[in-house]
């Protein structure tokens, strides 16, 4: 219950970062929350928001269009992998 509440507060903080925070603080908080909570999909959704709000659409495929989505997705998978190998998180 407490964990869920923290997760919701974390989500709100993350979305505030999308709209008002500097990009590096958004990235840092997304990484921190992905470490703190299991399968933190909110970070992926927030990164979609972030790319859509700040990105510039280019006619050709450019990684710049999805920079945050791709980097946070990679970090997401990497963090799951790291957590799997940390005894602190083992079930």
């Amino acid at each position: 219950m407490k964990n869920n509440l923290l997760r919701i507060i974390g989500g709100i903080v993350l979305f505030i970062m999308v709209f008002y925070g500097p990009w590096w603080l958004f990235l840092f908080s997304a990484l921190a929350f992905m470490f703190l909570f299991d399968n933190y999909y909110e970070a992926i959704v927030a990164s979609v928001f972030f790319d859509a709000l700040n990105g510039v659409i280019s006619p050709r495929f450019s990684i710049k269009n999805f920079l945050f989505l791709i980097s946070i997705s990679c970090a997401f998978v990497l963090i799951i992998y790291i957590k799997r190998h940390l005894s602190f998180y083992s079930d």
């Binding site: 990009w23 999909y41 992926i44 709000l53 700040n54 510039v56 659409i57 997705s73 799951i80 799997r84």
Partner: protein, 288 residues
């Protein structure tokens, strides 16, 4: 009989991996099928939130001063007064130059009338990582891609790169590796500068060319715009080129309003046109 517990660790990583792959593929496809759908709808949601931020900072921004000591405030006030008086003198000389410039353009029959729209900056670096500004006007004010973004009357900082229903995105000229052809105002030497992000530029010119700190970089052509000021020059004795570093003469993180130049309209002086008509008709009659 004892059974080993089956580990579900593999499933633990497989499921999120599938979900993320699906999200990424859907978003990428959506961006290519309807490129404006996501940005347009998210900008529609974000615009009122950004407006609230502006309102709050406007209303309560001065509260910080209540917590500052009187001495600091007095010193700051004195410094600002001194700066204002110096700027007033500069402004007077500028006004004379502007008048002279306008008169000269009138004399050669080239008068520009500006078609500008004022816009509030909703987001700015470091909030956006790509050196972009989000502005509070869009298609509702006939803003188009490629319109120039100007601060004050003469500082050209960027171009409109995306237009949504009631917001637009301006990319700064200083965005990373963006090439730009400029002229050093003092010498008239054309140079190509490259954006370095955060209002900074870099260029390379042969070592023999004299470039000084404080030189103004302007776009070529007949306009009253300036882009950057040379902040430093780096000369390496082993290199035949020198590196020039330029900077936008204003802190881009504090810009609150800009003007969007929807194109300069060249008004040819009617008197000169008539005079040209007369001369051409007289030469024609002479030929006959």
């Amino acid at each position: 009989m004892n059974y080993l517990l089956k580990s579900n660790k593999k499933n633990k990583i497989k499921k999120p991996l599938i979900i993320i792959s699906v999200i990424v593929v859907v978003i990428v496809l959506l961006r290519f099928i309807t490129p404006n759908f996501l940005p347009n709808s998210f900008h529609f949601i974000a615009r009122p939130l950004w407006k609230v931020e502006d309102f709050v900072s406007f209303k309560f921004g001065h509260l910080v001063s209540y917590f500052q000591s009187k001495k600091i405030l007095t010193d700051e006030n004195n410094n600002l007064r001194e700066q204002i008086s110096r700027m007033n003198i500069q402004l007077l000389s500028n006004a004379v130059l502007v008048k002279e410039n306008k008169d000269l353009k009138e004399a050669v029959g080239r008068i520009f009338s500006k078609n500008q729209v004022a816009a509030f900056v909703l987001t700015r670096p470091p909030q956006s990582p790509y050196d972009t500004f989000t502005l509070d006007v869009g298609a509702d004010f006939q803003i188009k891609k490629g319109d120039n973004v100007v601060v004050g009357d003469s500082l050209w900082i960027g171009k409109i790169t995306e237009v949504y229903s009631n917001t637009s995105i301006a990319t700064l000229l200083s965005s990373s590796n963006h090439p730009l052809n400029l002229v050093i105002a003092r010498t008239g030497l054309p140079i190509t500068v490259y954006g370095q992000g955060g209002g900074n530029f870099e260029a390379q010119v042969p070592r023999g060319v004299v470039v000084l700190e404080g030189d103004i970089l302007v776009p070529p052509g007949l306009n009253n715009l300036l882009v950057a000021v040379v902040s430093s020059v780096e000369i390496n004795p082993e290199d035949s080129f020198q590196k020039i570093f330029g900077k936008i003469p204003q802190n881009i993180n504090t810009i609150k309003t800009v003007d969007i130049d929807r194109g300069n309209y060249l008004e040819i002086d009617s008197k000169i046109l008539k005079a040209e008509d007369k001369t051409s008709s007289s030469t024609n009659s002479l030929k006959r």
